[in-house]
Symmetry: C2
Subunit: 434 residues, 2 copies
Amino acid sequence: MSESRGTTLDPWSGHYAARTAGLSASEVRALFAVASRPEVVSLAGGMPYVSALPRELMEAAALRAVGEQGAVALQYGSGQGLPALREQILDVMALVGIHASPDDVVVTTGSQHALELVTKLFVDPGDVILAEGPSYVTALTVFRSFQADVVHSPMDAGGLVPEALRETIARVKAEGRRIKLLYTIPSFHNPMGVTQDWARRQEILEIARSNDILVLEDDPYGLLYFDQSPAHAMRSVESEGVIYLGTFSKTISPGMRVGWALAPHAIREKLVLANEAAVLSPSPFSQTVISEYLSNADWRGQIDVFRGEYRRRRDAMLAALQEHLPSLSWTVPTGGFYVWLSLPANLDSKAMLPRAVKELVAYTPGTAFYGDGGGRNAMRLSFCYPTPDFIREGVRRLANVIEGELDLLQEFQHTAPLQVQPEVRAGVLPPQVG
Amino acid sequence: MSESRGTTLDPWSGHYAARTAGLSASEVRALFAVASRPEVVSLAGGMPYVSALPRELMEAAALRAVGEQGAVALQYGSGQGLPALREQILDVMALVGIHASPDDVVVTTGSQHALELVTKLFVDPGDVILAEGPSYVTALTVFRSFQADVVHSPMDAGGLVPEALRETIARVKAEGRRIKLLYTIPSFHNPMGVTQDWARRQEILEIARSNDILVLEDDPYGLLYFDQSPAHAMRSVESEGVIYLGTFSKTISPGMRVGWALAPHAIREKLVLANEAAVLSPSPFSQTVISEYLSNADWRGQIDVFRGEYRRRRDAMLAALQEHLPSLSWTVPTGGFYVWLSLPANLDSKAMLPRAVKELVAYTPGTAFYGDGGGRNAMRLSFCYPTPDFIREGVRRLANVIEGELDLLQEFQHTAPLQVQPEVRAGVLPPQVG
């Protein structure tokens, strides 16, 4: 039973599966309602800057999908995805050093659905999934929805720390618990923005191998580097011990919901069956539009355009942080969408959020990225969506909020955590914001 | 552990979740490989006749989705689906007598994904799901993938039999097992082609209410009637005890993967969270194309066109059965895609399939639609996809196969079931077919 009967009007409250108790609205989700108001500068979401995608190229791809490929695009497809698209996905993965067979690619409804399917295949209630601390919020939601215990392992400016990972594994094993997966985002990490170098990737792989742990390598941002390409994917040198997840959400369009998993062969077969059970097939229409775009547009050149856009935004954010919050510390991403800002130890980013929203700036509190209450005095700042001017203005507002909080604390010598206003926790704003 | 280590090369065979043991290739899936060869008349699949959908209308919808709605269609969306589309879905459901709020509609990646999400929300291992016997094959796959025990309840020419359902429920309850859902397809059932009348729907609802069982009403075919509309949906008179599933796969295009669930309010909230965890959002692009089509095309008139096409095919199949197999019995569908053919008791439709494929006709063996080995001397014949001429030729070939089998049995007085050739069971054809 997922809820006590006394507090709900749901007549089916006694009927839910045990796993449903773990399904709750994420803090990021509640923020979407806040962040979508036009007067708020949102540094909260992870929406790509799709305006930079030329509409005429997408129109042409959509027209060909209906007119030339309609017999495939408008019909049911296979659970593994279109063969032509799987071949093209190999070209994309070659850019991160991966060479594989199209037989081992499974197209999914965004890489999010690959996360869901892999978790469904591997996780029994109580199994442990190791993840970076912090980690991608909706991965944590998926893991919890299958009753996994997420155990975070520490990071530094170079990503997941191998020595700490060894200790984490030893501790979990000593407790007699089963570790099913190591979930990692090696390049331009969400939410920290940091990147593992090649030596560290190799060391983490070796730790996983020697402990018989399957690595789930999530790589949504790897192609969005600002200066030079990050190290090759872990999967480039380890085909049996890694499931690699990719997506077109950041390099083309998230509205298509087309991602993929590259999996060891035996796992791939089960992924296809799980995909069929879940959705029969990923959308043949979306897959065909993506495939036609890849066939006819300069997709590599377009990724360069995105890189330039995101680099300008990153630069704007770093400069604004330096100008307005010089006493704080933050990560310096060399690609991707995010900066991780550390606050003074006596500030609570979640408690501060209502005031920030009142000052018309939104961010994601650090606690969203932990399954264990960590991250209170940190926040994720996204530079992917707003223009550089809005980013500068957003950071300026944020600095005012942080300074105001610090003044307040100093004035009253008040060190207890501030209370979150329930209205904002539920994603509903006070009537007169700003 | 899902597999014994001795019979697999999968290094991760000891790592899968317990539920993964229930995930195996369906018989229908194996058939797709067979049925897709052009020389085979396939009466096996459930692919709609999408050629009847005017391409220019879909091109126009796709163009508007990119050009006019691109800021929404190409971006991430919400886990509940686009508000405009949810309003339009109300218009569709009004045709089956349902009046509801758009707040209670959850758009999904085909109604298949609604089946998956509902099962994930409600089913603990060992819970019972009641289903018609026979029932939709990929629903059974989903139920098994969450370790449900499917218990079939008998049908007759009027669909699920209320009196038998009462007995089934009493028996399951007496065994101390928990019934979580009653899964039913009241209109133009898959695979039987039969339809519950209004009195029977009301009686089944009453049985579910009095036993505190949630009804999962699956209605992919309800608008595809040949003469007159079937009875209103169960959901039209019961909003708290029914989750209604609809889809655009049969009335527009399955390649879009857009379906929906209409759920009691408290369940709807959980469905949205489960949807977000699984795919973040159903494809905003597909949703927008569907929404633009509904806004600008004569979608009701197009459903009339589909009705006419499928009626002609149904008529061709019934006439051919009467001509070539007059001694057998079959259901007479008044809508939908399927006829259910009963064979003489000593014939095994699964065992007969290799010979049928050699004679260049394919069907789906009855066993695919049961979780308990039932259906051996029955088969599903689909009339949705082939032209009337091909349907007549397919039935003629099928009659030859059946007569050949009966001759063989008579000649050798051989009543033991024939063996299925493993090559065909795995979906791989012998090299020289036909």
